[in-house]
Each structure stands twice: as C-alpha cells, then as structure tokens.
C-alpha cells in the first residue's frame, strides 16, 4: 500500500462522511467533482515526481474508465419509457387493470400491491432504475395526490419504499448483465457451471425476504424517527369523499396498446426474444413505438428525463476512478487483509466486515466497488492467500454480492433510492436506515445460508454434484426463520421505543444495529465454518464493527436544525 493510496482513500471517506453529516454544505455532485480533482492533482504530483509525464497524461483516461455507462443509459431509457407511458395513457390503462385485479377475491388490494412490489425482481433487469423510473409514477397514483386515493400516507411510504428496495437490488440476480455475474465469473475458476447463475437464487431469496423486512422497518421505525420529512398527504376519508364525485380511471385503446408494448419489451429483454441486445435498445425502441402511436411531441417526452441522479452518478464514478488511479482501492484491500491478523477478528471477523463494505460505503452504482473488491475477495480463496476454501469463498461471495447489489439504494451519491424518496416526497436519507439495516442484518446472512444449504452442491463438477437433501432444506428453513424472526422482533422493539420519543428511538436503533449486525456476522461465520465457537465469536465482533460504522452513517435528522433565535 502506498501512502498516496491511503491518503486518497482517507480523503474520499472523510469528505463523504462530512457531507453526510452536513458539515460540508454543498450539493453532492460539486463535492465529488472537487474531491476528484484534488485526488487527481495529488496523483498527478506523485506521478510527475516518480513516473514521468506519460503517467500523468494517462490519469484522465484511468479515471474515466470508471464511468459505467450502463446504469446511466438504463436510467435514461427507463425515464424515456416512463415519459412515453405517461403521454400515451399507458399508466391510466395500468390503473384500470389494477382496479380490476384488486377486485379479484383471492388477490385483493394487498395481493395486488405485493405483486407490484416484487415486479422488479420478477423482471430482473440489469439495472433497477429502468423499471423503477417507469413504474414509480404509477405507484404514486395510489395516493390522494395521485388521484386514486386508495392508500394512506403510511401505506404509500411502505409501498414506494419496499418497491424501491426490491428494484434497487434486482440488478444483482439479473441474468442479462446483473452485478452478480461479476462474482459468478470469478467462481467459474472452480465451479464449472457458476456462470449459469450460481449466485442468482441466493440473491433472489434474500432480496424477497429483505424487501418484506424493509417494509416493516419503514412502517414501524422510519416514520417515527422522521415524522415530518415526508410531505405526502394522507388518504381522504370516505366520509369526506361521500359528497364528491370520484372519477374512476379510464383508459383509451392507445393506452392499452402502449401498455402491451411496454410489457412485451420487458419480456423481450428478459427472454432475449430478439437475440442478445442491450436492454436499453429494446426499451428505447418500444418507447419510440409508443410515441408514434400516441402522436406525442418530443417536448412531452423530454419532460420525463431528469439529469440530477445521472449527474450525481457520474460524479460518483469519477471520484471512484480517481481513487482507483491513485491506489485508493488497493489501500482498502490491504487494510482488510491486515484486519484478519487481529486475533479478535481473524479471517471470520474480517469477512464479516468485508461482506458489509458496500453498505458501509454506498456508491451510486454497486458495480464500482464490486468490480474493485470481488478480485480481492477471490484472492482470499485458494487462488490467492488461501484463507478460505472454494466452498467458503462461494458462501462469502453470495453474502457479499447481495449486500453489494443492494448498496446503490441507500447511496446519497445519486443512488437509486433517491428516486423513491423523491416519489414519496421525502427528504434525502429518509430510506437509508431501512435499506442499510435490511442489507446488513437480513440479506447478507440469508444469502450465505441459502448458498451453503441449498445451492452449493448444484454447481459442482459433474462427478461431485449433489442436490440438497430434505434435511438441508429443513435446516435452511429453520435458520432463515431464525434470522427473519430476530430482525422482525428487533424492528418491532425499536419501533416501540421510537413511538415513545425520537431520541429514544435513535438510541435504540443504534443498539439494534449493533446487536443484529453482530448476529448477522455470527450467522455468516456459521455458514462458513459450521458450529465453530471461536469463528462465530470473531464473526460477531466483525459484524458489530461493521454495524457500528453503518449506524453512524444513518442520519439522525434530515432537515437542518432550527437556528437559534437571535436575541
């Protein structure tokens, strides 16, 4: 590790923490661009002295190599599609269908909403922003402001928050360019069929249950800790509505046609009906078709495009690129390896921290750190330091990847969750606590358990392959239930404390983070090492340390503190 890498890593983390704590009072894009320039200047000075001019001139290219175009174009394609659906009346058609669906006795409104929340994972597109941008305005329609007046303020927060959670994790298990494929590629060095989707099922399993816990957290804790930070109106009571004439949603033929085109485009993307095509191409083509049939103008479409999240995302990429060019990520790898030398942590404790690292440092797209750190995790296995076996590497990878892919949700640097916050009229940071809590305490341990008990045998070589036995599945169900029940109990307990007072809720939230972080670390170590007391203890210590940092990054207030009255 060079001193420059350590310095730039410290600078980046320091600036981000200060921005999150409101000590730096500037838009995040500005902060990131300035940080990038400072890091690049330090790097350039260092290279000018030690490596010469060509090395300095190569720096901009190195930094720009970290701009990942895919999530940017995915977001724009999603917004383009959302705009097209809005103009053509596709959303109105969707509303009519939803109204009809909720009248089906066996499904009802609750069933309809649950299906809607899980739609992103069902679609599993390579970037959650695509479907989120297209469907978030539809979810908003359930509110009083949105026109349908079906759900209360609390229900809207839970619906939008849980849907966003599901969307901004659905890029992980996607078979068409999902983030999880980064891990699968590396695991292919030992597991022959890893590229066929070794990490997909653990991610989907963890995300499905994690979404449910997120909904609980939003309902019982978030709303109580930030009572005035969502400006959604409550549902207008039926007694008030009695005198009013409520127009049921009506859809035109063009609206239905555009909806059919949208669904067909999604299916075509997922099942590759037109062969291997970038998903953005299919969606943009479908949006153009919708525009043609609805005779919309370009100006109408452009109204749907927003540049703010894109700008924040690019700024995040640039900062990551500057870090990479100056050895910041190498420094991070060295720090993590050094952690395993501490007796209290050991390899188990270090891995418990490692799998949570993207929740500790949430960037605008999970691909940034995943691309940088998956090779480091791979090096911990038999191909490098030999800290862990191939099977243990697969388990750690499963936990790491689900934690990573869900990290763009709570990112304040143009993360996907900001779209959800905007849709529910919330202050930035509103969903952060719920999202990081479930990634840390529910999803990572569940993915590890699933990999160990239900998935590992399926991806071995032909001669070693085996299917999970009934006993394995029973154990998985039992341990998964323990994890989920523990987090639900913790959530309800903190929620009760938060209902007494905000200060008490925040205190207990920290305690809850620590306790469940330690528990998650212990579960992870159990998945890796079985019933080994020392490793489980080390895992718990590592998990608690990670949880401590994560909890400190959760904002205690979202609006500026009231200024002292001038005397």
């Amino acid at each position: 590790m060079t001193w420059l890498g350590a310095l730039t890593l410290l600078l980046f983390v320091g600036v981000m923490v200060l921005t999150l704590l409101r000590k730096i009072n500037m838009p995040v894009q500005t902060v990131l661009v300035i940080t990038t320039l400072v890091i690049l200047a330090l790097g350039a000075a260092h290279r000018a002295v030690f490596d010469g001019l060509p090395a300095v001139l190569a720096m901009p290219n190195e930094a720009m190599g970290w701009i990942i175009l895919h999530p940017i174009t995915a977001l724009l394609a999603g917004l383009f599609m959302a705009g097209a659906l809005q103009i053509s009346g596709g959303f109105e058609a969707f509303k009519v269908l939803i109204m009809a669906l909720q009248r089906v006795p066996i499904i009802g409104l609750a069933g309809t909403l649950v299906i809607l929340i899980q739609v992103p994972m069902i679609a599993s597109l390579p970037c959650g922003r695509i479907i989120a941008a297209a469907l978030l305005p539809l979810l908003f329609a359930f509110s009083a402001e949105g026109g349908m007046n079906v759900l209360t303020r609390t229900q809207m927060i839970v619906l939008i928050g849980a849907f966003s959670r599901n969307a901004f994790g659905s890029c992980g298990p996607s078979p068409i360019g999902g983030v999880g494929q980064i891990g699968e590629g590396f695991l292919g060095a030992h597991f022959d069929a890893a590229a066929a989707g070794m990490l997909r099922a653990p991610q989907a399993f963890a995300l499905m249950l994690g979404t449910a816990v997120t909904a609980l957290f939003l309902k019982f804790i978030t709303q109580r800790l930030y009572p005035d930070d969502v400006t959604l109106r409550d549902r207008i009571a039926d007694t008030e509505m009695a005198g009013r004439k409520v127009e049921p949603p009506k859809a035109t033929l063009v609206g239905y046609a555009s909806l059919v085109i949208f669904v067909f485009a999604l299916l075509a993307s997922v099942f590759e009906l037109f062969g291997k095509l970038p998903v953005q191409t299919v969606l943009a083509g479908a949006a153009v078709l919708i525009v043609i049939i609805s005779r919309a103008g370009i100006r109408d479409l452009m109204a749907g495009i927003i540049l703010l999240p894109v700008a924040a995302m690019i700024a995040g990429f640039l900062a990551a690129g500057a870090l990479a060019a100056t050895g910041g990520f190498d420094a991070l790898g060295v720090v993590l390896s050094a952690l395993s030398k501490f007796p209290l942590l050991g390899v188990a404790g270090m891995l418990a921290i490692f799998v949570q690292i993207q929740t500790i440092l949430p960037l605008s797209c999970s691909r940034i750190l995943t691309a940088a750190l998956v090779p480091v995790l791979y090096q911990f296995g038999p191909a490098g330091f030999n800290f862990i076996t191939w099977d243990q590497l697969a388990i750690a990878m499963a936990a790491y990847i689900i934690n990573a892919t869900t990290s763009c949700g709570p990112s304040p640097l143009g993360g996907g969750g900001m779209m959800g916050e905007g849709q529910m009229r919330a202050e930035s940071g509103y969903i952060k606590g719920a999202y990081v809590f479930t990634s840390m305490a529910v999803m990572a341990p569940l993915a590890a358990l699933y990999m160990r008990f239900a998935n590992l045998g399926l991806f071995r070589s032909q001669s070693e392959m085996f299917y999970p036995s009934a006993s394995d599945m029973l154990q998985l169900a039992l341990y998964a239930a323990v994890v989920v029940v523990a987090t639900i109990v913790g959530t309800l307990f903190i929620g009760r404390k938060a209902s007494i007072s905000i200060a008490s809720g925040q205190r207990w939230q920290r305690v809850g983070f620590l306790a469940l972080g330690a528990f998650a670390g212990a579960v992870l170590s159990f998945s890796l090492y079985g019933l080994a007391g020392l490793e489980i203890m080390q895992g718990a210590v590592g998990g608690a340390l990670a949880a401590l940092v994560i909890s400190l990054m959760v904002p205690s207030r979202l609006t500026p503190a009231p200024r002292e009255a001038k005397s």
């Binding site: 009072n25 500037m26 838009p27 894009q29 500005t30 990131l32 300035i34 490596d51 060509p54 090395a55 190569a58 290219n61 190195e62 720009m64 190599g65 701009i67 895919h70 940017i72 959302a82 705009g83 978030l136 305005p137 908003f140 078979p175 068409i176 360019g177 494929q181 699968e184 590629g185 590396f186 292919g188 590229a195 400006t231 291997k276 095509l277 970038p278 191409t281 749907g304 703010l308 999240p309 700008a311 690019i314 700024a315 691909r367 691309a371 998956v374 090779p375 304040p412 900001m418 779209m419 916050e421 905007g422 849709q423 009229r425 202050e427 930035s428 979202l558 500026p560 200024r563 009255a565």
Partner: protein, 183 residues
C-alpha cells in the same frame, strides 16, 4: 406568537422552485437544493459542466477510437466465465473492453490485452454479444501505436514484457522498442 413564527426556519418544502425528480414530482432534498447556497452557485455550475464534459468525452472516445461497440458493455463481467476456455489465460476480459473504451493503454497491458489471440471463445459469454475479438484487435493496434509514439510509460511496457503479458504477434516489436529505449 408572531415572533415564534418569525423565528421558525423556513422549510425547503415551502419553496416552489425545487428540482424536478420525476415527471410532475418535485423533491425537497439537501443534496440538490442549491437555492440556499448562493456562494457556491458558480462552483456548482462548473461541477455540472465538468460532469457533462466527462460524460461527453466518455461517449465520444470509443466512437473516435474505432471501438463503438464498447459503449454497450454492461460491465457485468459475465465474460470472466471464460476462464480455462481462453487459450492464453486472460482472466479479466471486461478489463480489456473498458480499457479499450477509454483508451487506457496501461490497464489494457496489465490485463494481458497484448496476449489475446482473438479466438472469440469469450464472445459467447457476453450478455450483449459484443464482437470482443474485433474490439481487442483494434485496441492492440492502438496500444502498439501509442507505445511507439511514447504515450505509454516504459515501466508499464517492461512489466508486461517481463510478466509474459505480450503475445507472440507483438513480442518482437515490444522487445525492439524496449531495446531502443534502453539505448
């Protein structure tokens, strides 16, 4: 009462001029609300200009460099699944694709780009079916050209040469260049 009302800080949501976050939705957030930071207005504008420029350059570079397909790369790393099917043992194909997109020659060298024999075995792993052999071939030629005009650090080329990261097709030219450089 009146004084209390006066002392109450104005909430951002009370202002109507807020950034648009979704069609028809305004948001009330700390990060994007620049109306209460007049001192940094020009700084913010400069930052946005820098971001826009970076994106434009990033999108134009591959077009000018003859590797437009790299724009479609998801950076999902599914191509890492190639593993043993790569006859020369390149393990990080996506690194080659990304470095080709931004013309990062050193990254291309480090990932073994000059070893690639363009067999196309990695192509079937790409989720968008990029023509990887063509991309890598173009980048190989550009890397050699950049080396000859002195745009790559000598140490980087020396490392690639010493670590066996230069294939048969280019080894003579690289060796000759290193010999010239050491004078």
């Amino acid at each position: 009462m009146a004084s209390q009302k006066k002392d109450k800080p104005e909430h951002k949501r009370d202002r109507l001029q807020q950034p648009l976050v979704m069609p028809g939705i305004h948001r009330y957030q700390f990060f994007s609300d620049i109306s209460d930071r007049p001192l940094t207005k020009n700084l913010n504008r400069a930052a946005m200009l820098a971001i826009g420029t970076a994106l434009a350059v990033d999108a134009l570079k591959p077009l000018i460099g003859g590797v437009p397909q790299t724009l479609y790369c998801y950076e999902c790393r599914a191509c890492y699944g190639t593993q043993d099917r790569c006859p020369v043992g390149i393990g990080l194909q996506a690194e080659l694709t990304v470095s080709a997109r931004v013309a990062d020659y050193e990254r291309f060298l480090r990932a073994g780009g000059l070893k690639c024999v363009r067999c196309g075995n990695c192509r079937s792993f790409c989720v968008v079916n990029l023509d990887l052999p063509r991309i890598y071939s173009t980048m190989q030629q550009r890397t050699i050209a950049a080396m000859q005009r002195g745009a790559i650090r000598r140490q980087a080329i020396q490392h690639a040469y010493d670590d066996g990261l230069v294939g048969r097709q280019f080894i003579d030219r690289v060796a000759q260049w290193l010999e010239q450089e050491s004078g």
